[in-house]
């Protein structure tokens, strides 16, 4: 496929189709809708980190005036432990136990029952009246505790190497012969690192409003990263067929991976079914922090060997990631992405999924990859220091390029990693002078990106404008990019293209908004749909002109006779052809559904400057430049926005954010005051450099851009802190108490 150049709309900073609604408060997010007769649902949650549920008595709650329904795990479809049922990357055995505790409550905040009542206050009171008899069990939260001999085992069925274990899985990536590789090394550096669990931190708490008819016909209004995921998971967990469920995507107030699974929808569906009333459920911030997300805390060890001239000959990584109380940590990202920016002959990368009594992790922006990159990119910084090499020069010397066989398997096509390193090196930031107690660090990162299923429908309206429907919730501006592409192909003003997100009844199956796949995949289906529309328009013009359709070209929003008929007929515009549609064969529109392929990985290289306050231990980021191979920036404003947003999240992860557990195994900081995400005054401007190396497998050259920007950040900040202080940190966050501890030695 040829990448279109000389574009009119692709690459323009157009106004997003959903923009006016979002700056006027008109956009409807999950919690913004009501229905006549609506009642309120609330969840009763376990106070214990680990407890067998011996009995649940809901009779007092049910007797409370105003209570309309109560559900427990008995109402949810069971998925027996011994049979895996996969939905995408999620196993329904774990999902059914995550939305409601079955045999055991596995973390503080684990749902135990749910109530629907005529007011939130009555529902909350009813929850207090539910009597749960628990047998409290020993628990562990931290990785090292969960792996100790004699540690409390969360699940009897889970075995590792034949013995009961909290290790839920192991994966390995291998290339060459690691022993041979290290034998050839002249310098070897091995370090161990720790990161804390961090939350995705979306500002919109999970919420839904659900109505179920007497015939089971169900309408779900909720915000998620995939209305089809909501439909499928709710169907699985309630037993209602997918065809009876219409999942309508509300505007979504941030997800970052955390809204790729359901929490409330199955409970609200069952409550609505039992009560015969529409049920609304909205989580509090505390519930969000205790029972949803976050991503894993980790322990890792990385060993890298090189020759004196800076050629990396061997690399080994071992990554232990917290899964939460049910299997499924993002070890694939840590194991598979960490070494991929480099051409290394011998690699062994191993990951372990470690269960403990905390909430089940959910995806978070390039799941696992930032954890791996933090360790690898910090070791590379030490290696560059030991070799007296510039850290970018070390990376350039070992950079993966077209033809490199990546550690995780594939042979790279044309990629832009080297371009990001060169752009970083040439950037004025890299050579700007630094002051006292200031330091500079660099780091790179890689993410796989993703393709997968997407559907689109492109319809021409009777007045000659365009409505595009896709199946992906738009979190960060994908509608704006789709409008640019469709307008470009049709040769019309982008304001004539309306882009909507269809619900599960109005558009074909589309996979999640996640993995940095949405624009890659939806641009493909929208392009093919628009091409079909253009083919129809050309045929109709040919019929009117009584010439061959091949002799009609589509340009600037109109059909033109091509040679040999060029100039013989007046062009027929989109509006003219739309007006003639009823006489010319009917409505004009086309839909395409694909399982898209050809998503290529993305690379970024970041430069970070920090200043350390040695009295208070505060690290401030004072300058930041993110360079990324973005493929093709369809809407540069929202590409930059993805880069800046990822960087800000990474700075939070590096410097402040962490789950703090108390001695009872409960999260002690379940709110935005104590779980300290970056605020506006914490950050400098975040500079971006978009390197465009088009994806050869995509009609517009698109590569996913959302995940990569989080991957290098923690290492870039850590390397900058080392550069400022001359001391290295091997664990996150580099928060004031820890910084003071290291400064004071």
């Amino acid at each position: 496929m040829n990448v279109i150049t000389n574009n009119k709309w692709i690459g323009q900073r157009t106004i997003r189709p959903d923009g006016a609604d979002k700056v006027t408060g008109r956009a409807a997010f999950a919690a913004d809708t009501t229905m006549p007769g609506m009642i309120w649902g609330k969840v009763l949650r376990s106070p214990h980190p680990h407890a067998r549920i011996k009995s649940i008595d809901t009779s007092k709650a049910e007797a409370l005036p105003g209570v309309k329904a109560v559900v427990t795990s008995r109402d949810i479809v069971d998925f027996p432990i011994d049979k895996s049922v996969m939905l995408g990357i999620q196993d329904m055995r774990w999902m059914c136990r995550n939305v409601m505790a079955r045999e055991k409550a596995l973390f503080p905040g684990h749902p135990v029952a749910a109530v629907a009542a005529t007011s939130e206050a009555i529902a909350a009171r009813a929850c207090e009246l539910i009597e749960v008899e628990y047998e409290v069990l020993p628990w562990s939260v931290e990785i090292e505790d969960a792996l100790l001999p004699g540690a409390p085992i969360l699940h009897d069925f889970m075995k590792f190497e034949g013995k009961p274990s909290n290790i839920g899985g192991r994966i390995e990536v291998k290339k060459g012969d690691i022993a041979e590789g290290f034998a050839a090394a002249e310098i070897v550096i091995e370090r161990s690192f720790a990161t804390r669990p961090v939350h995705q931190g979306y500002i919109e708490p999970h919420a839904c409003l659900i109505s179920v008819g007497a015939d089971n016909k169900t309408t779900i209004w909720s915000s998620s990263q995939g209305q089809f995921m909501v439909r499928a998971m709710t169907a699985y967990l309630t037993g209602i067929p997918q065809s009876d469920i219409r999942a309508i995507p509300a505007e979504i107030g941030g997800g970052f991976g955390g809204k790729t699974i359901v929490y409330l929808e199955p409970l609200a569906t069952l409550l609505a079914k039992k009560s015969g009333r529409p049920v609304k459920m909205v989580m509090t911030r505390e519930e969000v922090m205790r029972a949803t997300g976050p991503t894993s805390g980790s322990k890792s060890t990385v060993k890298i060997g090189a020759t004196r001239d800076g050629k990396i000959v061997a690399a080994q990584g071992t990554f232990y990631l917290q899964a939460g109380a049910l299997p499924g940590s993002p070890i694939r990202g840590a194991v598979g992405c960490s070494f991929s920016p480099y051409d290394i002959p011998h690699v062994l990368s191993v990951g372990f999924d470690v269960l403990s009594n905390r909430s089940k992790v959910a995806a978070y922006r390039a799941p696992g990859a930032p954890i791996g990159a933090y360790a690898v990119e910090c070791v590379l910084d030490e290696l560059a220091e030991a070799l007296k090499m510039d850290p970018l020069a070390l990376r350039l010397k070992n950079a993966a390029k077209q033809g490199t066989k990546a550690a995780h398997g594939p042979v790279f096509p044309r990629i832009g990693y080297i371009e990001t390193l060169e752009a970083a090196k040439a950037h004025p930031h890299y050579t700007a002078p630094l002051g006292k107690l200031q330091g500079r660090g660099v780091a790179s990162g890689f993410w796989f990106n993703a393709g997968g299923e997407s559907s689109a429908q492109v319809n021409i309206t009777e007045d000659g404008n365009v409505v595009v429907t896709t199946g992906h919730p738009d979190i960060g501006g994908s509608r704006a990019a789709i409008a640019n592409i469709c307008a470009e192909l049709l040769g019309i003003d982008y304001r004539r293209v309306s882009v909507l997100i269809g619900d599960t009844a109005t558009i074909g199956f589309s996979n999640l908004t996640g993995g940095s796949r949405v624009l890659f995949a939806s641009a493909m289906v929208v392009t093919q749909s628009t091409d079909k529309v253009i083919a129809t328009l050309r045929e109709r013009a040919a019929k009117i002109w009584e010439i061959d359709p091949e002799a009609v070209k589509w340009e600037n929003g109109a059909a033109h006779p091509a040679s040999p008929n060029a100039g013989q007929f007046e062009p027929l515009t989109l509006a003219e052809l739309a007006a003639k549609a009823p006489q010319m064969g009917g409505p004009i529109g086309a839909g395409v559904q694909l399982n898209t392929e050809g998503a290529e990985g993305g690379f970024g290289t970041h430069i970070c400057d920090v200043e350390v306050d040695p009295e208070l231990g505060i690290v401030r980021v004072i300058r930041y430049t993110a360079v990324q191979d973005v493929g093709r920036a369809i809407h540069p404003g929202y590409v930059e926005g993805q880069m800046q947003g990822g960087v800000a999240q990474g700075i939070g992860w590096a410097l402040n954010e962490e789950y703090i557990y108390n001695k009872d195994g409960k999260v002690d900081n379940p709110g935005f005051l104590d779980y300290r995400m970056p605020v506006c005054s914490d950050l400098p401007m975040l500079d971006t450099v978009m390197v465009e190396v088009p994806n050869p497998k995509h009609p517009q050259g698109v590569k996913g851009v959302g995940e990569v920007p989080l991957v290098p950040v923690m290492a870039a900040v850590a390397n900058a802190v080392h550069n400022a202080l001359g001391k290295r940190f091997y664990s996150l966050p580099m928060s004031p108490p820890k910084v003071l501890e290291v400064i004071e030695g």
């Binding site: 923009g19 409807a28 919109e204 505007e251 930059e640 926005g641 935005f672 950050l683 401007m685």
Partner: protein, 165 residues
């Protein structure tokens, strides 16, 4: 328990509502008043998504009791544009991609408007500290700060001191 009857002014128009004594202003706005542009992100005054003004003072409506609105004048995101004419801040946010998911946007705009009313010539640092009570998890704040600074310049150059009707 009898509900309280509250008479107030919202976005320049008289408004009346009933509330429980413990209801927050945000509950009243989003519930009986049907003004869902103000969002609840935390209910503890930490995220600023519910920002409104009370007699021109910027407040988190989740920290204000609904009954306190009696006799006062409130402004919310719904009162920021004039019909289909957007406030210069709203227009600039769109032009500069200063929003991604949009959940913090109402609060950001209300807070930024309150800043420019008070200080038509803010420095970057003043913008950053003024908006430090408004969490955004999508943008890294860069485009938001730039949009506020550019709007301030535009409004000064065009002599717009007061956008309100």
């Amino acid at each position: 328990m009898t509900k309280l009857h509250v008479s107030t002014t919202i976005n320049g128009e008289p408004a009346e509502f009933l509330c429980e004594p413990y209801d927050t202003m945000l509950d009243a706005l989003r519930g009986p008043l049907g003004l869902t542009g103000s969002k609840e992100g935390c209910a503890s005054g930490d995220c600023g998504a519910c920002s409104i003004t009370l007699d021109d003072r910027l407040v988190c409506s989740c920290l204000m009791l609904a009954a306190e609105a009696e006799g006062h004048e409130l402004r919310t995101i719904e009162g920021m544009a004039h019909g289909d004419k957007l406030h210069p801040l709203q227009q600039k946010f769109l032009e500069m991609a200063a929003l991604q998911c949009g959940i913090c946007t109402s609060g950001m705009l209300v807070a930024s408007d309150a800043l420019l009313q008070k200080n038509p010539r803010p420095s970057e640092e003043e913008v950053r500290f003024w908006l430090a009570g408004n969490l955004c998890r999508c943008t890294g704040y860069d485009k938001i700060v730039r949009a506020v600074l550019e709007t301030a310049t535009d409004m000064r150059e065009q002599g717009i001191r007061e956008f309100r009707q």
